[in-house]
């Protein structure tokens, strides 16, 4: 028996340090690998790789304006990323953030047009709350179907994504009640006090992302520091054992599902406050699904999600500039997202590769020594 406890303290520390660094290195390596493959694609399509990459980086961080836009782009996917993570860690595969986002957005847009002259803090809170409530409600239906009828949530949430799309489209269509006289298929603009103001000159950056960071921290507290979060994670890791220990697993799952929907809904309402000021048909270009990539890259943890959402936001912002200057299509970002998902999901890990290599060397050494023992017999 290899006795791990007998190892000297120094070795134990070194090993755990290697483990942690390795864990952080994996997402970075995933990004690097994805960028490498992306560069190959760019090269094949005949574009200038160097130009593409430099315009990507400049487009993301080059000046205050770009930086601000990167953060604005990061905000909605921070929320959909958190939404996916909360559900995922609780044993639920919520790929319905798309629909929950839309529903939250239009709810926020509607509430934002209801009153006049409310102070910003109050009104914005109401709008975000509306987004949370309706996002949670949109998640409630698939949650109930899952626990009462055993229907798998994946298909239901995808159906609800589509239904949300068509329903919100109708709400702002010419026959819909939320259009209220706008010339475009959109809600009227919300009251100005609802909209965020830029913080810095020459930059569109506003408090939106930072509110998101606060919410991310709150999610961290909920999942790891509260009773409810403990139970959700238990159910997510091992449903049977959690039930056996006395946890009401169904309640946990519904709570988690609704929390997840609420987060996506806040994200939608946030877009209203932060960027557009109104809801229009075609509001979400796939934020729900991008959130999945963001969450995975961030190891489904609020801290990681903060970092990866900034990364993806920057990627998208830079990609637009890349399209203008180097002619490479914006959708390359989707390809990069998919590659990152693949690399992270396959848990291709530098630490594992190194330890496998060391293991092979060790085996060769022991077989050498056993051969030398046998040398006499042969």
């Amino acid at each position: 028996m290899i006795n791990k406890e007998k190892q000297p303290l120094y070795h134990k520390f070194r090993n755990s340090l290697i483990q942690s660094v390795g864990k952080m290195a994996d997402p970075i390596i995933a990004i690097i690998m994805a960028l490498l493959v992306g560069s190959i694609i760019i090269a094949i399509t005949g574009d200038d790789v160097l130009l593409a990459i430099t315009s990507l980086v400049l487009g993301a961080f080059g000046n205050m304006r770009s930086l601000g836009q990167s953060f604005l782009a990061a905000t909605p996917i921070l929320f959909t990323g958190l939404a996916f993570a909360v559900a995922y860690r609780s044993g639920i595969f919520n790929i319905g953030a798309e629909g929950q986002f839309l529903v939250g957005a239009i709810a926020g847009a509607y509430v934002g047009t209801l009153f006049i002259g409310l102070p910003s803090y109050l009104y914005i809170t109401m709008v975000l709350l509306a987004g949370a409530i309706f996002g949670a409600l949109w998640a409630f239906l698939p949650a109930i179907l899952k626990i009462k009828l055993g229907v798998h949530e994946v298909i239901n949430v995808i159906m609800l994504n589509k239904i949300a799309l068509y329903f919100t489209n109708w709400l702002v269509s010419s026959s819909g009640p939320f259009r209220m006289g706008s010339t475009l298929p959109a809600t009227p603009f919300v009251c100005p006090s609802v909209r965020f103001q830029p913080i810095f000159p020459n930059s569109p950056m506003n408090v939106g992302y930072f509110i998101g960071m606060v919410i991310a921290y709150v999610i961290y507290l909920i999942m790891w520091k509260t009773k409810g979060g403990f139970q959700m994670r238990a159910v997510g890791h091992n449903l049977y054992a959690a039930k056996f220990s006395g946890i009401y697993a169904e309640r946990s799952m519904v709570k988690a599902f609704m929390l997840s929907g609420a987060l996506a809904g806040i994200g939608g309402a946030m877009e209203i406050c932060s960027v557009f000021g109104r809801f229009y048909a075609g509001f979400s270009p796939g934020y729900g699904f991008e959130g999945i990539a963001v969450s995975l890259l961030g190891n489904n943890h609020p801290a990681g999600i903060i970092i990866s959402s900034i990364l993806f936001g920057a990627l998208k912002t830079g990609a637009m500039r890349m399209q203008i200057l180097a002619g490479t299509n914006v959708n390359l970002v989707k390809v990069l997202q998919a590659l990152i998902i693949f690399f992270v999901a396959s848990r291709w890990s530098l630490v594992k590769v190194i330890s496998n290599y060391k293991e092979k060397k060790r085996r060769l050494k022991t077989s050498d020594s056993s051969l030398s023992k046998e040398g006499g017999n042969k």
Partner: protein
């Protein structure tokens, strides 16, 4: 000297953190029954899985009839004539006996499966070896004994000259075990070699020609069965003299803390699993339920934890009548602790830390949480104390539960359940997969609880365990308790006959 049909030389197999096989040398002769004896974790199953190609060895060589062979997958082993019957059968539940039999070597007629031919092959084989099975039944519907016969026939049909059996008697009554012995002796006379993996000394004495003892990954002794005693084997197995008897003090029993009356319930396939099961447990006694796997034990446990809703019957715990549908939490609230039969699936959350695993079930306790938040320090101190009290070997309370050894995981579960201070402790297969020192520890804890006046319901497949611990021994058969003995009046033979359904006995 006769060349052995099989020779394993310096076989080494490493798993993360465990040296499962450490330069193992073993020979198997043609036409002999070799027993491979060792405790759980000694490396016997690993060695045989290496031989059968399910594991790849890290070092060493295998010689078949003197020639070196390379076994990298079961296909290679089968080609050489090695067959294996696993402890948990390799059968597909929702396919028929015939379909399972031909899987991998299906007879075809113009490209399509010929189930007619398959049936013929099964019946032929069955006749040839004298093992009866029904080719048309679904595997899910046949008895465990029949499933075992199917597994043996499968191996023989594929040309097994060397047959490996992994703990074959775990699922059989004492009478069925005799039938199996007859089959094995028959095969031996036909020239087959049989490797019998077991931890039961009696079996070895009954059937084997030679016995190889393994301990901590090494072979520590090979003897002719006739010339070695059970005590010597036991000592080799554990490395020190073993006292197999458990001393129990007489204990006064009190009120009934568990009463089960006329329980009827179905299993997950909607077949009757409990058929009027009735029993009771008083405080201060250990009631052991003996029985062959598949007679309703699992379903009884699942009904008692709320996972299966009973069709009929009463469950009264601490004078509380449980409603028809209830959640496990309600049971625990009645003052119950429950050590589950499958610790990895039901008892431990592998990704949770030891601290968190110890907290399961206690997260609402006001000592460890306020209205919403968990009290970190209190939880940590609880873990530190329990780790000390129950001698849980773990690098730290923050180690993941999945990284602990089986014995230590069981200790975590014990610590957690006992710290609930329950009046009723349900212990299902509490020593499954544990080594001797862990088993001793569990026995101590259970007896301690009994001394403190708790009632314990013990369900186990190990008859020795039932006999060692129980004050009263019940036998479950066909979903009913068909026999009840006091410890003093119980004999293995009588209990065995009841386990087989041959006798019934009620206590008057």
């Amino acid at each position: 000297m006769r060349e052995p049909i099989l020779r394993l030389e310096n076989i080494t197999k490493v798993f993360p953190g465990v040296l499962a096989n450490d330069q193992v040398n073993l020979e198997v002769q043609e036409g002999e029954i070799l027993a491979l004896l060792g405790e759980n974790g000694a490396g016997k199953s690993t060695l045989m899985n290496v031989l059968f190609g399910l594991y790849t060895k890290d070092d060493g060589a295998i010689y078949f009839r003197g020639e070196k062979v390379n076994i990298t997958c079961p296909k290679d082993a089968i080609k050489l004539g090695i067959g294996m019957v696993h402890q948990h059968f390799m059968l597909i539940d929702n396919l028929t006996v015939a379909e399972n039999f031909i899987l991998g070597s299906e007879p075809t007629e113009r490209g399509l499966l010929s189930l007619k031919q398959a049936k013929k092959i099964v019946n032929q084989c069955s006749k040839e070896y004298g093992l009866s099975i029904n080719s048309d039944s679904l595997v899910a519907d046949i008895s465990v004994g029949e499933q075992q016969r199917l597994e043996i026939l499968k191996s023989l049909h594929r040309g097994a000259k060397i047959l490996i059996l992994d703990e074959p008697t775990a699922v059989l009554t004492p009478q069925k075990v005799e039938e199996l012995y007859k089959v094995l002796r028959d095969l031996k006379s036909k020239g087959h070699s049989i490797i019998l993996i077991t931890h039961k000394l009696k079996e070895i004495k009954d059937i084997s020609d030679r016995v190889a003892v393994m301990r901590s990954g090494k072979v520590v002794g090979v003897h002719e069965t006739a010339t070695v005693t059970a005590e010597e084997l036991a000592e080799l197995m554990v490395g020190r003299p073993v006292v197999l008897e458990v001393t129990k003090e007489r204990q006064k029993t009190g009120e009934r803390i568990l009463e089960v009356n006329n329980l009827h319930a179905k299993d997950y396939r909607n077949l009757t699993a409990l058929n009027g099961c009735s029993l009771h447990v008083k405080s201060g006694e250990i009631v052991g339920i003996a029985g062959v796997d598949g007679n309703g034990q699992s379903e009884l446990l699942q009904v008692l934890s709320g996972f299966i809703v009973r069709d009929e019957g009463e469950i009264i715990i601490n004078n509380r009548n449980l409603p028809r549908k209830f959640a496990q939490k309600e049971v625990y609230d009645c003052g119950v602790g429950h050590i589950p039969e499958d610790r990895m699936r039901m008892g431990i959350i592998a990704d949770f830390t030891v601290e968190e695993n110890l907290l399961l079930g206690f997260e609402n306790d006001e000592r460890y949480s306020s209205r919403y938040f968990l009290k970190k320090d209190a939880i940590h101190n609880r873990a530190v104390n329990l780790i000390k009290e129950f001698d849980i070997r773990t690098p730290s309370p923050l180690t993941e539960g999945g990284k602990l050894s089986g014995g230590n995981q069981q200790k975590v579960i014990l610590a957690r359940e006992i710290s609930k201070n329950p009046n009723l402790l349900i212990a299902a297969q509490p020593t499954r997969g544990l080594d001797v020192s862990a088993i001793e520890f569990v026995y101590q804890q259970l007896l301690e609880q009994r001394k403190e006046g708790k009632g314990i319901l013990l369900i186990s497949f190990e008859l020795d365990e039932i006999f060692a611990l129980s004050d009263r021994i019940l036998v479950i058969y066909g979903g009913e308790i068909i026999a009840e003995f006091t410890r003093s009046e119980a004999t293995v033979k009588e209990v065995g006959l009841c386990m087989a359904g041959v006798r019934r006995k009620s206590n008057d």
